[in-house]
């Protein structure tokens, strides 16, 4: 009977593939959010596995803040070409130009929060009825209560007190016209599971995740990557360090880790020993104790 054991990574993989297949069966026009970060990379990998030998039967959607790491965009374009997948890009800049949102100002200015409006507009414009996201329940305490299939009202809002119960592996994606769903196929994965899976499956990831030299500066104990459009406080100075990214998001609010890890094995060792959560470097979560919950209610990822 020993051969019949399924490891935790395969169990998680089987579950996620099942969820992605349910989305394609239950919705008319689904999409998958893709940021070029490791979570969306494995989610897309799982989607390819789910429908092989057919192509992934939906387009990806990238909400582009314009404040990207160039490596991420190159990686995205390469992957789309290789797999023959379409990726729709929606620009936060367009939402700013059309007056739908107002750019934040000051030293902590970030377009991270503005993405919500761009995302909801893109869902409406493309008539998507479901957007899959790479959110994981271990990331943040408000996410810990998120369902796999998360219902959004016609305003795109999440009501944490009125979620549909989710039992066994039966998912209910029924909705009224104008409403949509967010689905989180990798809900049950932890940061460690994601890295282990990348190693197990030998999935290529952007070089940003490995050790590289980069211009950085320290703000409130967090190392941030420097980009020319960022304002520095008087006491902050730009220096070059050996770093790697633990998460990849908008450059203005993604902390980098001082690290010499240059292989997946070294990254896994480093994470096993680390004592700070990956979102510990995310300035957007530090705005208040319920920052994530508030953004999610408004329709954030």
């Amino acid at each position: 009977m020993k051969n019949y054991k399924i490891t935790h990574l395969r169990e998680l993989e089987n579950e996620s593939i099942y969820v992605i297949r349910e989305v394609v069966a239950q919705f008319e026009k689904p999409t998958m959010l893709f940021s070029g970060g490791k979570d969306s990379i494995i989610m897309f990998h799982l989607a390819r596995k789910a429908f092989w030998p057919a192509k992934v039967p939906f387009p990806l959607l990238h909400i582009d803040t314009g404040h990207n790491f160039q490596e991420t965009l190159d990686y995205r374009d390469g992957l789309m070409k290789e797999t023959g997948t379409t990726c729709i890009v929606s620009l936060v800049q367009d939402s700013i130009d059309s007056g739908r949102v107002v750019e934040e100002t000051g030293v902590n200015a970030s377009r991270n929060k503005l993405q919500t409006v761009t995302l909801l507009d893109a869902i409406e414009k493309n008539k998507f009825d479901c957007a899959m996201g790479g959110g994981r329940r271990d990331e943040e305490k408000a996410r810990a209560k998120e369902r796999f299939f998360s219902h959004r009202d016609e305003f795109g809002q999440w009501d944490p007190k009125n979620q549909r119960p989710e039992l066994w592996n039966i998912f209910n994606g029924k909705k009224r016209i104008g409403e949509h769903f967010r689905v989180f196929p990798i809900s049950n994965w932890t940061e460690m599971d994601v890295w282990q899976y990348i190693l197990l499956e030998n999935i290529p990831i952007p070089n940003l995740y490995f050790n590289h030299k980069r211009k950085v500066f320290n703000r409130d104990g967090v190392w941030l990557a420097y980009a020319p459009f960022m304002q520095l406080k008087p006491n902050e100075k730009v220096e070059e360090k050996d770093v790697r990214c633990r998460t990849i998001g908008d450059i203005t609010c993604t902390g980098v880790t001082l690290s010499k890890a240059s292989t997946l094995e070294e990254i896994i060792k480093e994470i096993a020993a680390t004592r700070i959560t990956e979102r510990g470097g995310r300035a957007d979560d530090k705005r208040s104790e319920t920052a994530m919950e508030d953004r999610k209610k408004e329709g954030y990822f």
Partner: protein, 424 residues
């Protein structure tokens, strides 16, 4: 399997468990303790709850704050929904479905229990076996959770008394005989001080059994899966329509139970057609054999008309095929059940309209008495109903099969999931 070339962390088992206990049983503290002592809490999370505890004027770090996610919960100091937590040991990865224990939240407990292999039931050592203990155990039994660990908590408040522990244990076993739970263990703990949670208690030397963590880490879960009855509900049909795979027609799904092998003779439901498995594919690879819980794509020797909702089974081992269903249920919605009302039944990958014919009885979950006269059913109530479906359903009894034996009812007007059902 390929995984065997990796050892250690790539080769761990997954255990899903649920926790039941009421507001004051110290459930959040216990989970906080498991996460903290297994080093699943990071410095920034710890600093955040230290700040929050101080801000509330509490003297010690309140581990319960780790699991109280939503703002309303922190304000009211209660957990109002199912939250999922994660931690790992070198041997296993754990997923906790943390559910609240108040009476009005039976539906959340049922939800958390539906995917669990193990339940932790907390008893306050000062109060002993209470109404809610019976309720929690009944739900664990109804949902067929294979393993139950009863934690007698707050032993520090009863002077770590062996007599008290034995008294509660024997009282529990008295009524547990009525339940259908295969494996029950007892551990005396103090979640607040950490006794017997992860590390052995120095104050309860009379207890020579395992700690809670040791049980979680080693309890045998290999036989929890049903590997006898081969059931494959079809989720999607895969037709690549490209040159290389021009004639490929695959049936994608997750094996609900049993084992399928390449070359097996299989029967398709509902058509009854008999054919053979040509291949079992998983992304550029073909398997000789696939087992319960694997997501695969099957191709068949014959060109048969199969669509979502159909089921592939063995010729000589088929589920019940019927339009009349008898099931245990838990009502999940504030809109009451309507006898003769029409609902949508969702079961595996199939969907069918149904009418609720009758409420056979409902159960008072505090004393387990059956009431056959009162047919009004509202939120959080448990009982037994009969349904008639528009088309036949291929189902097993829930006792034999937790996947093909479970279903939900969806309200046609609100689209909400209003009922959880377990086939008798």
């Amino acid at each position: 399997m390929e995984e065997q070339k990796f050892d250690g962390y790539l080769n761990m088992e997954l255990l899903r468990f649920t926790t039941a206990g009421s507001v004051d049983d110290g459930k959040s503290t216990l989970i906080g303790r498991l996460l903290y002592d297994s080093k699943a809490i990071f410095e920034d999370q710890m600093e955040a709850i230290e700040r929050a505890s101080l801000g509330r004027g509490e003297e010690r770090v309140n581990l319960a704050l780790l699991t109280d996610g939503l703002r309303a919960e922190r304000e009211q100091g209660i957990t109002i929904d199912v939250a999922y937590r994660y931690f790992a040991t070198p041997r296993r990865k754990f997923i906790i479905a943390d559910t609240p224990g108040h009476i009005q939240y039976t539906r959340n407990m049922v939800t958390g229990a539906s995917t669990a292999n193990l339940a932790i039931i907390l008893i306050d050592a000062r109060n002993g076996v209470a109404e809610q203990t019976i309720r929690h155990s009944f739900i664990a039994s109804l949902l067929q959770i294979p393993h139950v660990i009863v934690c007698i908590n707050k032993m520090d408040l009863v002077d770590y008394s062996l007599e008290r522990f034995q008294e509660i244990t024997s009282r529990y076993l008295e009524f547990a005989g009525k339940f259908d739970i295969q494996d029950i263990r007892f551990v005396p703990i103090s979640a607040l001080n950490g006794d017997n949670v992860v590390t052995r208690s120095k104050t309860m030397e009379w207890y020579d059994g395992p700690t809670l963590m040791w049980l979680l880490d080693t309890i045998y879960i290999g036989s929890d899966q049903n590997l006898l009855d081969a059931r494959f509900p079809v989720q999607n049909v895969i037709r690549p329509q490209n040159d290389k795979y021009h004639d490929y027609r695959g049936y994608a799904g997750r094996i609900a139970s049993g084992i399928f092998r390449k070359g097996d003779t299989v029967k398709i439901l509902p058509s009854g057609f008999i054919t053979k498995i040509k291949s079992i594919d998983v992304f550029e690879k073909s398997l000789d054999l696939a087992i319960a819980s694997q997501s695969v794509t099957m191709t068949l020797e014959d060109d048969v008309d199969i669509s979502r909702g159909d089921m592939i089974v063995r010729e000589n081992n088929v589920p019940n095929v019927s339009q009349d269903i008898d099931m245990m249920f838990c009502w999940l919605n504030s809109k009451p059940l309507q006898i003769k009302g029409k609902y949508i039944l969702r079961h595996t990958s199939s969907e069918v309209k149904c009418i609720v014919n009758d409420v056979r009885y409902k159960i008072n979950i505090n004393n387990l008495e059956r009431n056959t006269l009162d047919k009004s059913i509202t939120m959080n109530e448990i009982g037994r109903i009969t349904l008639h479906t528009q088309k036949p359903v291929f189902a097993d009894s829930y006792r034999k099969n937790r996947i093909t034996g479970s279903a939900i009812l969806v309200d046609e007007t609100t689209n909400e999931t209003i009922c959880a059902g377990m086939f008798v």
